[in-house]
């Protein structure tokens, strides 16, 4: 960028700043090294079969992650099924349809959704979504749709995959919606105006110009949303029911990787192989998040210059 001959004072300044940068690199490698180091005993003992062994039995020292992986991906996929249309609608509304003077205010509301802590979402789920599912949705599905696979209601308790998915969907919406909005905003205005001047409706502009132009950014947003949903912990612990079974229906209870870590990791450290298996679960989460973020970042780099918007942070 700026090429100048550095003098001694600048050398010192650069040296001090590079210590800080070294700190950042150190943090990254600390987390990767710790997870790899402590999961090594389990990785070497169970091998790749860890991923599809269903039994998780600490007293017998048999550990397999299949149940938790299934639960995690069920919650994530169902959450994304809810979140994708919702956030596409929000992004399109904010960028194309919303009156100008309300746009800033409405955007702030969606960003506030991103800032609400995970535990607050969990409490809201326990006190609002779960009773709602128990009272209205589950009896309705039980009496009308029980012949459809994946929609059978066995225990009418409200907790389960669906409750967790709904809440996780609302936590993912701000990410996908804000990236959709940013990608739509990157569409050249002159093209849109040209189409409008030729008599196209807003819908034609969205369908034929905006979405084809910005679909990459939307993919990127969905990928990052997937990464966020996979690692979601506290809200899921409170809502999923915490039973180590592979759910046969979206109303069934289950367990996710993050939930089993949050619930049992502090007990697990007593036995080295148990603790190591739990760290291996964390390793799965870490690898998924790294891969997903590398892909998502590459996709977004081409569309909106890799500039993450505000809704990326917050929560937890």
């Amino acid at each position: 960028m700026l090429k100048l001959k550095l003098n001694h004072k600048d050398d010192l300044f650069k040296f001090i700043l590079s210590i800080f940068v070294f700190g950042i690199i150190l943090i990254f490698f600390t987390v990767v090294t710790v997870i790899l180091y402590y999961s090594y005993p389990a990785v070497s003992r169970f091998g790749i079969a860890f991923l599809w062994t269903k039994e998780w039995n600490p007293p017998k020292e048999i550990f397999g992650a299949a149940t938790f992986i299934a639960g995690t991906f069920m919650v994530t996929i169902i959450a994304l099924i809810f979140a994708i249309p919702l956030s596409l609608g929000i992004g399109i509304f904010l960028e194309e349809y919303c009156p100008k003077f309300l746009k800033g205010f409405f955007t702030i509301i969606i960003e506030l959704l991103a800032g609400i802590p995970s535990v607050v979402f969990g409490v809201w789920g326990v006190l609002t979504i779960v009773p709602w599912l128990r009272k209205y949705i589950e009896p309705f599905f039980k009496s009308h749709f029980s012949f459809i696979p994946f929609l059978q209601v066995t225990e009418n308790i409200g907790y389960g995959i669906l409750a967790a998915s709904i809440v996780v969907a609302f936590m993912v919406v701000p990410i996908i919606a804000s990236i959709t909005k940013d990608s739509l905003a990157a569409v050249p205005k002159i093209t849109k105006d040209g189409a409008l001047a030729m008599g196209a409706t807003r819908l034609d502009v969205i369908k034929d110009i905006s979405l084809p132009f910005s679909y990459r950014g939307i993919y990127g947003g969905i990928i990052l949303g997937f990464g966020r949903a996979v690692g979601e912990t506290i809200a899921v612990v409170l809502l999923i029911g915490n039973q180590a079974i592979i759910p046969k229906s979206i109303f069934g209870v289950g367990y996710t990787i993050s939930a089993v870590l949050a619930n049992t990791f502090t007990f697990a450290v007593i036995s080295p192989i148990y603790a190591s298996s739990e760290v291996e679960l964390a390793l799965i989460l870490l690898l998924v998040s790294l891969i997903v973020n590398i892909i998502g970042r590459n996709v977004l780099q081409k569309v909106i210059g890799g500039k993450l918007s505000r809704a990326q942070f917050g929560g937890g």
Binding site: L2, L17, V21, G115, T128
Partner: protein, 312 residues
């Protein structure tokens, strides 16, 4: 060719194109329907924000008073009487410790990335930094346990304490501060920095006298957003600090654990007691107050910075 011959058929020289009125009407109706879908998606997306605040307030207003934020939890089960002072003090401890780590590290790295370094090395550092933002908080918690809290093996052996929890939260906060500091420096008009350098200033002098002043608002926003992000974290604290119903006596070892509002909510909502559920909802009001206050403060600062820039 039928379309271009239209004016011959109708005899109207201005009507070059066939106007299919029902087609246009249908297009307009489809557009209306799309508008309706988009607007209802927005309403559905905005609904949780208001419903979360509403459902917390409707229970919280009965218990929320000065005593709730100024007394320690007492009674049986613990927390049935008294307030959440332990959690507020604990959050203060955690935020201060995390900031001590994350603010210098984040601002320093952000400045380095925008002022020094080769293109290629910087893009690697940026990649690592952004990947860290995506790592789930429960993974950070496990790392924090093995680095800071554990009593056996390698690590610092701080025990379940404010220092262990705060430093783990600092790890989460650092990449956010770094990313936003770099963006804040990039937003300064290039002429400011180039002007200072052209006058013979070193990069240190330019930083001291121009960049820090011009990017002050952005850097402050970065720190506040980092604090906003860690104030609601629960999962990392499960393994590094857990919870304390009293005030801490130190920051490491036994008695070093602190309370935390998010952790308190998480613990209270697990208890089979209505009064604790109500207290949890009241604590949600307090937590949301802090979160929204930080959020609004941040927006005010960045808005004011933009205004001040426009003045000159």
């Amino acid at each position: 060719m039928a379309e271009t011959d239209n004016h011959k058929k109708t005899g109207d020289p201005n009507n070059y194109f066939p106007v299919n009125k029902s087609y246009i009407k249908r297009k307009k109706i489809y557009n209306r329907i799309a508008y309706g879908f988009a607007a209802s998606a927005f309403i559905l997306g905005a609904f949780p924000v208001f419903h979360i605040i509403y459902s917390a307030l409707i229970i919280g207003y009965k218990y929320l008073n000065w005593r709730f934020v100024s007394t320690l939890p007492t009674g049986f089960p613990i927390g049935a009487k008294g307030g959440i002072l332990n959690a507020i003090v604990g959050d203060l401890y955690l935020v201060v410790i995390a900031s001590c780590l994350a603010v210098p590290l984040g601002i320093g790295s952000g400045l380095y990335l925008s002022l020094f370094g080769k293109q290629r090395t910087n893009s690697v550092i940026r990649l690592l930094n952004e990947l860290m933002i995506g790592i789930p908080s429960v993974v950070w918690g496990i790392m924090g346990f093995y680095i800071f809290s554990t009593n056996a093996g390698l690590g610092f052996h701080f025990g379940f304490s404010a220092l262990a929890g705060g430093l783990t939260l600092g790890f989460i906060m650092t990449p956010i501060v770094t990313l936003l500091t770099e963006q804040a420096v990039h937003r300064i008009p290039a002429s400011y920095i180039e002007g200072a350098l052209a006058m013979g200033a070193t990069k240190w002098q330019a930083t001291k006298s121009v960049i820090v002043k011009a990017a002050m608002g952005g850097i402050f926003t970065a720190v506040l957003l980092g604090v906003l992000n860690i104030i609601g974290q629960t999962a990392p604290l499960l393994f590094t600090n857990y919870y304390n119903t009293g005030l801490p006596t130190g920051i490491t070892g036994p008695g070093g654990a602190v309370g935390d509002i998010a952790m308190l909510i998480f613990i209270y909502i697990h208890e089979p007691s209505h009064i604790l559920h109500y207290k949890a909802e009241t604590a949600v009001v307090v937590l949301l107050f802090f979160v929204f206050a930080l959020d609004i403060g941040m927006r005010l600062i960045s808005w004011l910075t933009v205004k001040i820039f426009e003045m000159f």
